[in-house]
């Protein structure tokens, strides 16, 4: 579970406040990442990235969009921090070799 969900569940009462205990915590990783495939022309990808990074929370036109996403700023992409998550997923066999979810009853 990510930290902001744990806080939200506690505030809303989904999990009664103080009723759960954190027994382990991974290092920080980025929960949301905008990923582009190789098919996107690099100059277009660059322009798109520049546009996102230029968005300012001080701009009243884009601020509601930030608020909707729970963001205050865009940061350059990074992939560090995912290793423990990847290991856990692999150990649990959640995906097969082709990347298909193996758990039959799993409904995202």
């Amino acid at each position: 579970m990510i930290d902001s969900n744990h806080l939200l569940f506690g505030r809303e009462g989904t999990l009664p406040a103080g009723s759960t205990r954190m027994i382990a915590q991974t290092p920080m990783f980025d929960h949301c990442n905008l990923t582009l495939t190789d098919a996107v022309p690099p100059d277009l990808a660059q322009q798109f990235g520049d546009l996102l990074l230029s968005m300012s929370y001080a701009d009243p036109q884009v601020r509601p969009l930030f608020d909707l996403e729970g963001l205050t700023v865009w940061r350059p992409g990074r992939t560090n921090g995912y290793a423990p998550l990847e290991t856990a997923i692999d150990e649990a066999g959640f995906y097969d070799a082709e990347g298909v979810i193996t758990v039959a009853e799993y409904k995202p």
Partner: protein, 401 residues
Amino acid sequence: MTRPTPLIELDELSFERGAHLLVQRALLDMQPGAELGVMGTDPALNIHLEAWCRTQGHGIRLPEDRDDPVRAWVSRGRTDIDRWTGAERAGGPYPRGIQAKAEPHWGLAARGALIEPGAPDLGFDLADRDYVWADIAPSLYAHAASAQWDPETAIDWRAEVSLPAEIELAVVQIMTYLVENEQAALVVPAKLLSRIHPHFREVLQLLAVQAADEARHVEVFTRRALLTGGEMGTSSVSGRESLATLVTEPDFSLASFLLSVLGEGSFLNLLTFLDRHAPDPITRQVTRLARQDEARHVAFGVAHLQHQSKVDPSLRSQLRAAVERRHQALSNSTGLNQDVFDALVTLVAGEWTPEAIGRGFEEVQKLQKDMDEGRQHRLINLGFPADEAADLSALHTRNFM
């Protein structure tokens, strides 16, 4: 001299139970980039503090020493400052704080509120003070709110009503006509108020009460009509044609002029007439109470147009054109439902003798003359010369409203 490092003690209070309020308050007066030490004993404090800081745009750093009583250092961000940079007050809360032009993005915000920039335009197209405002609106609203009466208790519904059948039918016909007209008088302000920018809230409040007044009138007139167990009376095409020209008038000032100044103005005479000639106490009570409310509606209509004529010299020619247009639109319509006219005569006559009917007819003619004089008087109040006022009054619909 360095300032002491700010610290906040949360004790056992967790972020699931409102700890953010204390942190937020402590950060409020700090400069962006300055650090606040957060202390507390909740086991999940750091995890939740970090999640909260991310959403608020604050930074966070953990102390190097694990025995440090400070659990985390929050570096103040600036998103709250950014949110309110460029914010403006939507005028002031009192009528003196009303602005000449209400901004579309103020939307439904309270007058005088601090407005965060942005948000959609809700499309209130009546947003100019000079177009919708009248200085009398706040006091008329206060009076209207205090003068609301309860249809259940304000009228003695148990009073005895035992009229000859044809007089009762005349009352029912008149009540049917009144309901139809009051429904127009309900719809017109309700349509207009949904277009007025809420910055001019006293005007909205007044129109809302005006619509509520008409709602009560519709109720009591209907109830009187059905009191003796009969059916409602007739509704003519001509009457409804006349009212349609009121309901479809899109211009606020012109609609207000046609409805309140000319229509409801004429109704003041009609309701006075019905009060005087009412054959039973309930008919008298319902028409008298309705008249009190209608007088307020007329007063606002006149005041609003007086205010507007001061700032718009072309107003009177627009009003004149509106009357002429409506007259033209109704040129092939007979106006008042003949059943209504006959019912008014019958009501006054009270019996079927030539002498009584003749007297009733004269009284209804006199009513129409009174209505005409009342309209002329109000037109003169709006600045029309007497001869023009007489011409315009004569063009008013024969349906009275």
